[in-house]
Amino acid sequence: MYALNLDTDRRILSATFEKYSTEGMPKVEVLPEGDVSDYRYVNGEYVYEPLPEPEPEPTPEPSGSDYVTYDEMAKAIREGVNSYGQ
């Protein structure tokens, strides 16, 4: 036997074994297949209702301004070398 920890909308947050249950936790014989948090527990039945997948965050494309030209890089190195010890 299992005990369910439910959110206010009866979504399953987690499941534990009956021996660890506390008052008010629904007891069930079997857990749903897969991820328990894809289900809500309503009127003694599992309702499959997965949360929407979060939108993938777009990876920012490097813009041209992120790069320096070869000449700019060479100039920066020259300045760094020339300023050494000053």
Partner: protein, 141 residues
């Protein structure tokens, strides 16, 4: 030092001091370890009045059976477990973390966060999942 030796040494010290420390399993995640479920922020109601310290075993992610860490914590103070990996070929560092707080009557687990040094961090409750909680009695401050 082998774990058995550590245990013996600890027990000998406890015997010398006359103190007794008990550790009891208080909660287990019943989601099968092969298909561990995601774990959104939640409160786990438990009677913790007898316990002064806690050990929480934390699986790194739903997809990493066998990879666990542990958080040792005292009462009424938020602790966070931080699971850091350096990804060799990818060249970035990744971190999974979640905050826990134990009081007299509940364990509060916050949302888990997954961060990468190259892309930032976001809430990801498929990581840092508690699989068991132990209570420890007899700890004196």
């Amino acid at each position: 030092m082998a774990t058995n030796t550590n245990d013996k040494a600890l027990q000998q010290l406890l015997n010398i001091s006359g103190k007794k420390v008990d550790m009891k399993l208080l909660w287990e995640n019943a989601s099968p370890t092969s298909t561990l479920s995601t774990f959104a922020k939640q409160k786990i109601t438990l009677d913790l009045t007898e316990y002064s310290a806690f050990v929480i075993i934390i699986r790194h992610s739903t997809g990493s059976p066998g990879q666990s860490s542990q958080l040792i914590m005292d009462k009424d103070v938020s602790h966070y477990v931080s699971l850091v990996n350096a990804a060799g070929a990818g060249g970035y560092i990744q971190n999974r973390y979640r905050v826990f707080t134990c009081s007299n009557d509940e364990v509060i687990a916050g949302d888990a966060w997954f961060g990468r040094s190259d892309t930032g961090e976001k809430i990801d409750n498929s990581v840092a999942i508690p699989t068991s909680i132990y209570g420890i009695k007899g700890v004196k401050k």
